[in-house]
């Protein structure tokens, strides 16, 4: 299935992906997604829908059994996880997404390893410009930072290599409401800088507020897709997948 993307060639196109840890027991059972350059796409769905597995298998961390993943037209489904970042696809896991025993700076330098030597220092400065908190704490162990700051390190680590697409697995998990807001403001800012964003979220309200489009997965397959505002306003979908009553309001996200 392909979403109407008449004017743009998709930057990321996932077709009929089947994946899971055990070959006999697929968790993702033929899910598809197309993402246009510069979009923010959010993947929603009930617990156990395979959202996390979907994004992790695109990132190369969960074995794929079949299906195609194309990044800017290039087939990348067979590439190992460590090659994907060279291709321009970065991933921020949900938990344990920083190296806690390393300093903030070592976390970022590690990611810079795939850049040419001359680009590493300027890129580090760019990240410190974008995340001023991290510049102040560059010599602290990342494990000693607060949850919100760790999330910042994780996102900065992914952005170090100037990826074309960043995928995030529940960036708001475990954060206070105020920090969640900050994370989504940051993501909107990153998109403005020209980075395409795909995120899996439980927090449908906050995610739909910044997203352009959303996919809803159920039982490892596509259940619905559409513009963020349309899904938000569809009471049937809200009741089924987006956390029930609290989203039934006709409020339109900004």
């Amino acid at each position: 299935m392909s979403a109407p993307q008449a004017e743009n060639q998709p930057i990321l196109a996932v077709t009929d992906l089947v994946s899971g840890y055990d070959p006999g027991v697929p968790i993702v059972r033929g899910a598809s997604m197309t993402v246009a350059p510069g979009e923010i796409v959010v993947i929603l769905g009930p617990n156990g829908a395979g959202k996390s597995t979907f994004i992790k298998s695109i990132a190369g961390l969960v074995p794929k059994q079949s299906g195609s993943v194309r990044l800017e037209g290039r087939e990348i489904a067979a590439l190992p996880a460590h090659r994907l970042v060279h291709e321009g696809l970065a991933f921020v896991p949900q938990t344990e997404n920083v190296f806690g025993q390393m300093s903030v700076e070592d976390n970022l330098r590690l990611a810079a390893g795939i850049l040419p030597k001359a680009e590493r220092a300027p890129q580090l400065d760019k990240m410190y410009g974008m995340f001023a908190d991290l510049a102040r704490q560059r010599h602290l162990s990342a494990g000693r930072l607060s949850g919100g700051q760790r999330q910042m390190v994780a996102v900065a680590r992914a952005l170090m290599v100037s990826p074309r697409v960043v995928m995030l697995d529940e960036p708001s998990a475990g954060l206070s409401p105020k920090l969640v807001e900050q994370v989504f403001v940051n993501l909107a800012g990153i998109r403005k800088a020209g980075v395409t964003i795909v995120l899996v979220e439980q927090n449908a309200r906050a995610a739909l507020a910044i997203a352009d489009r959303a996919y809803i997965l159920a039982e490892g397959r596509n259940a619905h897709e559409g513009g963020a505002a349309d899904l938000w306003n569809d009471p049937a979908i809200a009741a089924l997948y987006l956390g029930g009553g609290k989203l039934r309001s006709k409020e339109v996200p900004a």
């Binding site: 990132a59 190369g60 961390l61 190992p80 996880a81 460590h82 970042v85 060279h86 970065a90 991933f91 896991p93 344990e96 997404n97 920083v98 190296f99 806690g100 025993q101 390393m102 070592d106 330098r109 590690l110 990611a111 390893g113 795939i114 680590r157 290599v161």
Partner: protein, 302 residues
Amino acid sequence: MNLQFLVDGLLTGSIIGLGAIGVTLTYSILRFSNFAHGEFISWGAYATLFTSGILGWALGGAVPAIGPFSFGWTLLVAAVFAMALTGLLALGLDYVLFRHLRRRANAITAVMASFGASMALRSLLEFFFTSSPTYFSKKLQIAKQLGLGIRATPDQMVLIGLTAALVLSIHLLLTRTQTGRSMRAVSENPDLARVAGIDVARIVNITWMIGGALACAAGIMVGLLVQIRPYMGFDLLLPLFAAAILGGIGSVPGALIGGLIVGIAEAVAVQTVGAEWRAAIAFLLLIVVLIVRPSGLFGVRS
């Protein structure tokens, strides 16, 4: 009390420390206890003996010793060559054995397999070189008085210096280079390391090479200071693990300091209680540290 135990302990401790660095790296990056690590020590010593023998033969007779030391330059060349060779042996063992178990089996299977590999490697040495001890050089060295009742041979002094240089370079590699950062990253979180663009298989190979090379260096030290025999490495295995655990699994400085503590404690025991207590002291220390500080002296994991 005679201070001689300091030199003896420092030497034994350096040997144990060099071996323990390999144990701690393999454990933290590959997540299993490699009981065949002692065999890398023995194979390293025999590889050096064999290579220096061939060099001597090719040059038509033994090369004169350097200055006050018991060995000539052929041994130094052979040592470098044998370190690379032992690294390749470790890599080869991973290639034919551990790599497959990592994919399919659990950690205990890998540990048992390493026991088997240990026996096989040891028996091969006995087969090729017999079980009777041999030496790099039969030349006798006269110990020099260093004051305060401490005596040391020139060999002993230069080996302590070389150990310090080796350990310092490994420490700098781990803390200052991209390869070292990648090793620490893989040790902490392999999946996140892959996401960050690190080729984990390459890091695993580098880890085996470093562990094997350092074990070889330990083997050469044992060969120069004591003797070369097929069981030389296996006999060191338990002190190696004691040192790695004492220092905190995963910590390179910890492994060295753990080695020095075990070495010096052994030397003190030999001097005060009696030589038969030598092996017991490592475990007494280990038990005390594990009760007081279960993650080891420099450990970060609980």
